[in-house]
Subunit: 348 residues, 2 copies
Amino acid sequence: MHTEPTTFSAESYFATQPSPQHLQQDVDKVRDFVTKQAKEGRSVVLVTSGGTTVPLELNVVRFLDNFSAGTRGATSAEYFLKAGYAVIFMHRQFSLQPFSRHYSHSTNPFLDFLDIDPPEAAGAIPRISVTPSKRADLLEVLTAYKEVHARGTLHTLTFVTVNDYLWLLRAVSKEMAVLKRRAMFYLAAAVSDFFLPTQKMSEHKIQSGKGNLSIEMDQVPKILKPLVDEWTPGGYIVSFKLETDQDLLLPKARQAIERYGHQVVIGNDLHRRKFEVVFVSKKLVPTLPPGIEQTKEATQQAANSFSEYWLRINLPEHPLPDAPVKEIEEDIVQELVRRHTEWIENTP
Amino acid sequence: MHTEPTTFSAESYFATQPSPQHLQQDVDKVRDFVTKQAKEGRSVVLVTSGGTTVPLELNVVRFLDNFSAGTRGATSAEYFLKAGYAVIFMHRQFSLQPFSRHYSHSTNPFLDFLDIDPPEAAGAIPRISVTPSKRADLLEVLTAYKEVHARGTLHTLTFVTVNDYLWLLRAVSKEMAVLKRRAMFYLAAAVSDFFLPTQKMSEHKIQSGKGNLSIEMDQVPKILKPLVDEWTPGGYIVSFKLETDQDLLLPKARQAIERYGHQVVIGNDLHRRKFEVVFVSKKLVPTLPPGIEQTKEATQQAANSFSEYWLRINLPEHPLPDAPVKEIEEDIVQELVRRHTEWIENTP
């Protein structure tokens, strides 16, 4: 079956694609969280994290996915919490989460560091405790985790498909609009550029043995534009560009800033993203009065009107096992908090 | 770019697609494990688990995936270990694993049940221990986990792509051939039917904004046939069929048995798989001497020559929170162990 590709605006997308089942419950909880944080005078950052899926069948067996373990988002969320922000952590189901990320079931399984103590009395259930060599590390993570839960500054919600993500992002950003300039958006999720409209999906599992698989997908609408202009005017918006071709990094980042008019694009190369990123923003240039044409120099100036800030950390070439490794997210968050604070203060 | 679909036999697949980087190290470890188990007289089951990916780019950003958390495989592995089998657990990176599966970071995060005890002396690092209400459950899992590790009866290896999976399966099954009838294969992984040959992959991230995405994939070669005939003759092979259309379940399962000549297909419907599966096998019918043509009756008999064994468990409609839930994998493994044992004993 060959169908014509459809071009979706954000508006036509939401008018034709079904909303996720628990959207209203999710939104109600976000509203309570935002109200509490606003009352307590905290800035709130929405951190999106992990990849989105594009189901190919209505009864989902197969889907297209984007590579992302959720490291960037989960790590950054921890540093935002440390910096005093409240965090709405909107992440792909089963992707990494702040705090527990240190104990992946594969690389640092927690069952390995639990000891069964000798029972204190005959017949008593023995105590289980953390093995002494792991105590210090875990204590740090656990203390931070318990503090965040006691303060109530972390709210978690999950998505799976790109459709879940788009509906949630719109709803959550509208809830955050009341925070005005105190709202930050840190859009680190790896969102699919393509999707398959429900109307084109096959109901059952696509059968093999009938030749080869051929999929045609439509483009996901660009939602940064309505996010900036309509859903949450006033928010400080940071988006990410991941490329595998270094040469495309800056042009793509500049294009995004130009097109959507938000505050920062953080560009990163797939293979260098753990130790190098670039912040791309628009420099503030005076607008020409209407009727006056731009001179050649002004055009040149406009082309140079992006600021680029490279952030690099040195990773040890041969790290010692168990030696703490500097995380670039610490510096990314520090720089963003600085910029966000300045931006709040400079608002008339 | 439109290229003609290629049909791959298992042979042409392995001749043209690159082997994964750590294949040899992985195989060496499997060989040691198999040697140890053979010496100690244990039966060994290879459990494959989780979905495989199909990368769309050489620098992987996007991939096709198959729905699977790895619950079936991880749960079954635990019951095989309980039944005295040694288990090679070959699973998708980050999918569920035996034992730790009970403590998913999302549904039962382990940080929630750790208490920081008051320090025993000033300046000492405080002990961290499991909160009393969680002790009994965790003790059971932890005890089983520690026993398995002490005995050395669980070996874990991981795959991500369908290419990793195919190369590993071939290599591991060849290593298991020395076990003869004591080797079981429990192929619960959700393996893609389609793939994109390296030769057709784009090097960099597919750019959006150039119209819609169109992907054409080739069929993954059917590897059950060479597994049965060449790689591990003598092994007891169990494969799975997952369908979303109930009506296709039995025909598809019978077709697989007919085509590949292995021992059991376990058919399951996507929405009923937690409480209902069907074992499909070939009944042993006497072969006609050469030169004698089949009568109509014999043809009819051949059509009826499959045995079907439905396995169902009753799930409580309103389960009590924290009440232990019966897992269908317990019964699946019990039935397979029974069949496997009988099959070993009846071998001339």
